[in-house]
């Protein structure tokens, strides 16, 4: 029970010692604690403990003492470059996934329910296929003698064949395809919720298509855009398979670096530090989400003032 006390503490408003005691003595509270126990134990064993031990590992020097050496290492030379590459590719991916996802979701949201369901299936089903298979699929499509290049060459497209694999284009195409179902699903849900009569109302007042899109549609979809963008960015940060298979030397991402450190160099401390950095970046992404939302609020407030 002692372990569980903090949980009830967070539920009680301003838990002073006396009040906490009273709350704990209530039958409802005790019953609630009993119910929460399995989840708490589950989280402690499978989430809190591993993250905590990874953190400890990342702070442990080779002689067993405390050190920030592994973090310093992560932000130095080739490692720093890999970190920046990861951020860049994640940003490119989330941007592309947003643009393509927006177009797809907005098209699907205008279809009749039956067709919308089918289109949604086409978008989501690839997600259930093994990522490895999908990635090899892309490799077949994008290779020097792949379907895309053969088609472009046959059409005498200037510059064809293109190098579409083992470079950043390949990685971003691959990761975007992975993130797309998320952005489409998130944006579709938001777009479906928009009252299309609002757009008609704007048209009635004299707004043209571009204005309606810019002043009414996009602002109404904006919360979904922010969510989808940050989600695909975060998911991409730790993504391993596609960049490893479709990228070149220059597209090594943090996940690959961790893999190399653990599997080839048996360097657990450095890998732990990188893992913690990824985790912090994820938190930073979520923080960014919050900031963007409140910034949007503030922007609107300022708009009102003028």
């Amino acid at each position: 029970m002692a372990v569980l006390a903090p949980v009830s503490g967070s539920a009680a408003p301003v838990p002073r010692k006396k009040r906490l005691g009273r709350v704990l003595s209530e039958r409802r509270t005790r019953f609630g604690l009993l119910n929460a126990a399995p989840v708490v134990v589950y989280l402690l064993i499978l989430f809190v403990y591993p993250i905590f031990s990874t953190l400890m590992l990342s702070l442990k020097a080779e002689n067993g003492g405390f050190t920030l050496h592994w973090y310093a290492d992560a932000f130095r030379g080739a490692n720093l470059e890999i970190l920046l590459t990861t951020l860049r590719i994640s940003a490119e991916t989330s941007l592309l996934a947003l643009v393509v996802g927006f177009a797809l979701a907005s098209a699907i949201s205008r279809l009749k329910p039956l067709w919308a369901g089918l289109a949604m299936l086409v978008v989501v089903v690839p997600h259930f296929i093994s990522a490895l298979v999908r990635t090899y699929g892309w490799i077949i499509l994008l290779g020097d003698n792949g379907v895309v290049n053969n088609l472009l060459t046959a059409l005498h497209f200037p510059g064809a064949p293109f190098q579409l694999l083992y470079n950043e284009i390949g990685v971003v195409i691959g990761t975007t395809a992975v993130m797309l179902p998320y952005t489409v699903l998130l944006l579709y849900a938001v777009m479906k919720g928009i009252d299309r009569r609002l757009l008609a109302a704007a048209a009635g007042m004299g707004a043209g298509r571009i204005t309606i899109f810019r002043r009414v549609y996009v602002p109404l979809v904006a919360p979904g855009l922010v969510n989808a963008g940050v989600l695909s960015f975060i998911l991409c940060l730790g993504y391993y398979l596609t960049p490893a298979l479709m990228g070149g030397e220059k597209q090594t991402m943090v996940a690959s670096l961790i893999d190399e450190q653990v599997m080839k160099q048996n360097q657990w401390n450095g890998a732990s530090a990188l893992g913690i950095i990824l985790l912090l970046l994820t938190f930073a992404g979520l923080l960014l989400l919050r900031l963007l939302k409140s910034a949007g609020e503030a922007l609107r407030k300022r708009g009102e003032a003028s």
Partner: protein, 383 residues
Amino acid sequence: MPETDVIPEPALDSAASVTGTGKPVSVTRLRKTYGGVTAVDEVSMEIAAGEFVTFLGSSGSGKTTTLMMIAGFCEPDAGSIVVGGRDVTRLAPQKRGLGFVFQQYLLFPHMTVWDNVAFPLQLRGVSKAEQRRRVGETLEMAGLSAMARRRPRELSGGQQQRVALCRALVYRPPVILMDEPLGALDKKLRDQLQTEIKRIQRELGLTVIYVTHDQEEALVLSDRIAVMRDGRIDQFDTPQELFERPRTPFVADFLGAANFLPGRLEKQTADHTVVRLDTGGLVTARPQAAADGTRVRAAVQPGRLVLCPPGDGFCTGTVETVTYVGTLVRVTVRPVQGADTELVRLELPAGRAPALGERVGLTADPANVSVFPDVLPDAEQGG
């Protein structure tokens, strides 16, 4: 703000509100079918500048479809629409420069009240200072100045509809179309907003086309009412004409819940028609072109019936119910002759109520009795 789609702003000065900004609307033989069902059938009407016209009808009468075609949200199969001398039949809604108020308000949820009202002005490239002045003025007029910074969802239904009204008024469109704008509000609020809409319309000299299924609302607001049924206009007239000289049984029933007394046309003169009722009495009515001896119905509004001593009027009966409704009393009378005839409904001033079971005679001014060929009015099931 430079916009790609700037609408020509009508030259506007302070005098505009005095002279009136409304423009005439002319609709010619408008038709619309949905999958074989004719929603609007050859509707034609001329609406004068500054006129308040209501399309009145039950659901499915084609009133909203007609409005949507004038708005441009729905393309007619045939016919033409001319606003202020300009043919707008094939024009996109944003090019027509009209104003709208919808039943569901349709305010932009991501904008404040102020921004909602300023939006149409921004589209027209109105300067910031002018925007501030006009939005401020309009909100002031609607008593919404204190709400300017709020979001639509923070307002009550009545306030939201007022904002929608402001948004339609602020750019002084020559014609404002309203689709049951008060349908979602409670009675008291509806009465209050009706008064406001009417006042603003008069002050600005706006042309308003209003859609409703509420005959009382139509009577209160309109200069003229188009009573619609099955995609056609039954009658397009002033409230008084509709009420006193309904041209079809449907209009008589829909507007005044008229009594229809079956009978046979007995005699016609230049000034009136005489009908022998099935209950035995003779009733004198307005002239009606029909052959002597044909089956007809004499229609008379409950409020136009007058009590008289038994045997004097066109009908004698016993009082079955007496219901007080404020200053009025509703009375039903069962005619003595003709056991299967319907009850006759009356509305009398509260002081003149007869006693239950009393034998009374009924009479009416011939000018208030209309005669129709004997076809069942369709509205009897629902209107």
